[in-house]
């Protein structure tokens, strides 16, 4: 019989990277009017003996930029010319097509099997180059290189960082041949590619959340029959159980400095928010009420926590200042629209709250401006949940229902651009968008 330890290190032998057999497919469900027209010209290719390029780079970049909602890439078939470097570009051609910017590039296979990728971003009206890079890349990193190109293009034109070279974590639920439910915790590129299974179980998994250094996920697992909290390194696959108190152990989130978790425990009678120092495992209590207090979310300065509480009669969002000893101020209510607001996600600049909002029985994603109080509903469906901001604050990924299946969707913060990410079969849920530092 296993002794109960408050932390237990298990080497998960069965959890080596499984082949990517379930790819998330992305569909743009709502295009954007007024998005900036841009042309991403098919890259030139020089490879061994007339082969095809291993990745169609320009398409990855065009898809990234379109997903952001800021850009409207020109379809390949509308391009009059196919230059592969700035010297070949005739700006008049592109002015005639009404595009503001053009990206040209080329890729070459090198003798050692790596690839040289070069691209230039040009301003069509001024006729000047805005950015140009040469990147050497191994084959498995080519998609990443394309996302880095998207980030550079996005940042150069909009002035804000792109979030294309990032990861998402999520839970999938499928059925095996015995009709048993299989739960998987997975990590993929932000565009749904390169899915890696991090953990698999026949018992429910919930609430994945990233560490700020992008190396670990904390999540809730019912592996031992009850909700407990685990931290797993996504590279080494090492798992550590960090909370298995009596009652509920759930809603874990890393602090912005990575040294603490905020979490929900009901060990003292009803669900309350606590802080746990990850080194000492010491707990500090944040809330004290007879109500349900759960779903903590950190403000980006680490000095306050937003959480869901039904102390007012139904779930609403509240905020309290915290220090390492626990609560450091009064609890302040933040939401007043309607009678159900829960599961806050704070934008990276601390200005906006995304949340699940119920109106007339329908659960939708809404955003509140903490500075002005302005409240806006972003989605139009009825079973939306788990909103998560992109690390650049421009998009929100969330879980929704489509045709009776669980799928992920992303919406730009102004509500204009929408996409859906779905599995071929089964449900996807609980997405968590990583920070910028999510790559090794």
């Amino acid at each position: 019989m296993l002794k109960k330890l408050s932390s237990l290190i298990i080497l998960s032998l069965m959890m080596f990277p499984a082949p990517s057999y379930a790819v998330l497919t992305i569909e743009i469900t709502q295009g954007v009017e007024g998005a900036a027209p841009i042309a991403i010209v098919p890259f030139g290719w020089r490879g061994a003996g007339g082969s095809q390029p291993p990745e169609v780079m320009h398409r990855i970049v065009a898809a990234d930029l379109q997903r952001s909602g800021f850009f409207k890439p020109l379809p390949d078939e509308d391009m009059i010319a196919r230059p592969v470097e700035a010297a070949q570009v005739n700006f008049a051609d592109w002015r005639a097509l009404n595009v503001d910017h053009v990206v040209v590039g080329r890729m070459q296979e090198l003798p050692d099997g790596t690839y040289q990728v070069q691209f230039q971003l040009l301003d069509v009206y001024k006729g000047t180059q805005l950015a140009g890079y040469s990147i050497r890349s191994r084959k498995p990193d080519l998609r990443r290189t394309a996302h880095q190109i998207s980030d550079i293009v996005y940042q150069t034109i909009t002035g804000k960082p792109g979030a294309f070279d990032t990861h998402i974590a999520y839970i999938t639920v499928t059925h095996n041949r015995k009709q048993e439910r299989i739960y998987r915790l997975a990590v993929a590129d932000a565009d749904g590619h390169n899915e890696q299974i991090v953990y698999e179980s026949k018992k429910p998994l919930m609430s994945p959340s990233w560490s700020p250094d992008g190396k670990r996920l904390v999540y809730v697992s019912f592996t031992r029959g009850r909700p407990e909290i685990y931290i797993q390194n996504i590279f080494s696959r090492e798992i550590r159980r960090v909370a298995d108190f009596k009652g509920i152990n759930s809603a874990p989130v890393f602090s912005p400095d990575g040294t603490q978790l905020a979490l929900t425990l009901s060990k003292d009678g009803n669900p309350e928010i606590y802080l746990m120092d990850l080194r000492s495992k010491r707990l500090s209590r944040v809330t004290r009420s007879y109500a349900i207090d759960t779903e903590p979310a950190w403000m980006p300065d680490g000095k306050a926590i937003v959480f869901t509480s039904d102390r007012g009669g139904s779930p609403q969002l509240y905020r309290v200042k915290v220090n390492r000893k626990g609560a450091a101020g009064r609890v302040e209510r933040l939401t007043f629209d309607g009678n159900y607001n829960a599961r806050a996600s704070v934008s990276p600049d601390g200005r906006y709250l995304a949340m699940v909002h119920r109106e007339q029985g329908k659960f939708r994603i809404a955003v509140q401006d903490l500075k002005t109080g302005h409240f806006r509903i972003l989605t139009e469906s009825r079973l939306d949940e788990s909103p998560s901001f992109a690390p650049n604050g421009s998009m929100i990924i969330y879980a929704t229902e489509d045709n009776y299946r669980g799928v992920l969707a992303a919406v730009s913060v102004d509500g204009r651009a929408q996409q859906r990410l779905s599995l071929q079969s089964g449900d996807v849920r609980e997405p968590a968008w990583s920070t910028f530092k999510s790559r090794k």
Partner: protein
């Protein structure tokens, strides 16, 4: 109380007259730790006596006519309130458990899929705890009760409409090995 006694009477009569052997209903995942008393009751075969005071015999757990056969309690949206009908069921379980302090139950709390998962995990627990409170107020020891919430993670009905949702807003009373 009158109706309860009637149930007990019927149960006793059915058991006494029928004399049939009920196969234990095994709940998935429950630990089956049989006490000596339960072992004796099973070994004796057809002898289902009623102890003094009209106490419920172990076999009442398997009697489909007994209120003890009702193991699922249902709830309204967002609520952990117990309906008057369910109160009677809980009272029957309380009576049984207080007479059999060696028998324990797991109260499993659940919610329907609407709303956020973590809040629903807490709501499931609140529902289970409400049932626990009613049991302990009626003489059941806290040592006999264990609480687990699955929130919305273990629905019994998978459709996305109210007919399914009302079946998922529930607390299940799980007896080990029965």
């Amino acid at each position: 109380m009158g109706r309860l006694f009637t149930y007990i009477l019927i149960a006793v009569l059915v058991l006494g007259l029928g004399g049939c052997k009920f196969a234990p209903v095994k709940k998935k995942g429950a630990k089956g730790a049989q006490t000596e008393k339960q072992q004796q009751a099973e070994d004796k075969g057809a002898s289902y006596g009623v102890s003094e005071g009209g106490a419920l015999d172990i076999k009442a757990l398997d009697d489909p006519n007994s209120p003890l056969s009702r193991r699922v309690l249902y709830f309204d949206l967002d609520s952990s309130q117990i309906s008057p009908e369910d109160r009677e069921i809980i009272a029957a379980h309380a009576r049984f458990l207080s007479q059999h302090p060696d028998i324990s139950v797991v109260l499993e709390g659940h919610a329907d899929e609407r709303g956020t998962r973590e809040y629903n995990l807490a709501l499931g627990e609140r529902r289970a705890k409400t049932v626990e409170q009613l049991l302990t107020l009626q003489g059941v020891s806290q040592k006999q009760i264990q609480i687990i919430s699955f929130g919305e993670e273990r629905p019994v009905a998978l459709d996305h409409n109210e007919s399914a949702w009302r079946l998922n807003r529930r607390v299940e009373i799980l007896y080990s090995g029965y």
